[in-house]
Amino acid sequence: MNTPLITPDCHEVMDRFDSYLDGDLEPETARQFEKHIAACPECAAEHKVALQMTTAFGELELEPCPDDVFERALAQAQASQNGRVDRPAVASSPQPRIRRWRAIALAATILLVLGLGSLPFLLNSPEAEYSAEEIAQARQEVEFALSLISDAGRDAGAYIQYEVLAEEVVRPLHESLNTIQ
């Protein structure tokens, strides 16, 4: 007679222990629940464990994070932040070289496509004698080419930053043009 007798009522009671303990059962259901527990040793034992468990949960505490773990984490976090701030300066030496090369290649290609083969010669020989008409013509062509380069630079944004193009190509060309005027 020591074998616990678990009835279908027991299963229902055990499934609803949390609702009972949380006070979520209807008053009538709760009353039947208590009546069953009072009469059933198996569910009474379950109830006892449930109550003790609720008490013990309230007593469990968080295991504290050791100070040295926290200090290391804080140092790493701050270092990672500094790393992010410094990154553009650190990366600026190799990356723009590629960008600059691409920008110049693009400019040269456009100039070639537009048949402005005389431009480098013109830029490299500021002291040469040209008529005002020739210079005006060259300037018009260069400015047209520069506007195309700017548009191309924007379209090729994934590869070439417009600012780099402006700094590395457009401005030097403008300066060259100004020196020959």
């Binding site: 222990f17 609702s19 006892k48 464990v49 505490e61 295991e63 504290p64 790493q76 976090a77």
Partner: protein
């Protein structure tokens, strides 16, 4: 912009405790804590402060899962089921307080033996005090499933405790 370091301090025990309970290894828990605190520092400001607790615990749990996948730590860590004799030396005076603290030790071991996601649910609800909504958010579960799973987890705990603790050790 990053968070104030006091926010990190507020969450550190939560992260570490969860990681220790999940991984069963303080060294691994320290690594996870460090990783999560750095992420909190970097991204925490983008998270609504009201949802930060759930976010932190979700990131912590995912970091633990990643570590387990890498290390298989959990396989190496198999918690021994305690018997009441294991505590006889620690608790020579069988007064009420000692009994209650023994129950806590049994409970901790019973929690360790739960499978996922039941263990996380119990730890987060009963020890970290998360609401059902926060639990659902942390574990990516529907609210109704969260409640059903939690009830199931508690039922399993009761069953384990009843099997491990002699009836006479239970307070009447």
């Amino acid at each position: 912009m990053s968070l104030d370091s006091s926010v990190l301090a507020d969450h550190r025990h939560r992260i570490y405790d969860f990681a220790v309970r999940f991984l069963g290894c303080r060294e691994d828990a320290a690594d996870v804590t460090q990783e999560v605190l750095v992420r909190l520092w970097q991204r925490g400001e983008q998270i609504d402060p009201a949802r930060r607790k759930a976010w932190v615990l979700k990131v912590t749990r995912n970091a633990c899962l990643d570590l387990l996948r890498k290390n298989k730590t959990r396989q190496a860590y198999t918690p021994a089921t305690p018997s009441i004799d294991d505590f006889a030396h620690d608790a020579p005076t069988p007064d009420r307080l000692a009994e209650s603290s023994d129950f806590r030790v049994f409970l901790e071991h019973a929690i360790e033996q739960l499978d996922e996601p039941y263990r996380s649910l119990v730890v987060l609800r009963e020890i970290h005090g998360l609401s059902y909504k926060e639990l659902a958010e942390t574990l990516d579960l529907p609210l109704s499933t969260t409640k059903v799973y939690l009830h199931r987890a508690r039922k399993r705990l009761r069953s384990t405790l009843r099997q491990t603790i002699p009836a006479e050790e239970l307070t009447p």
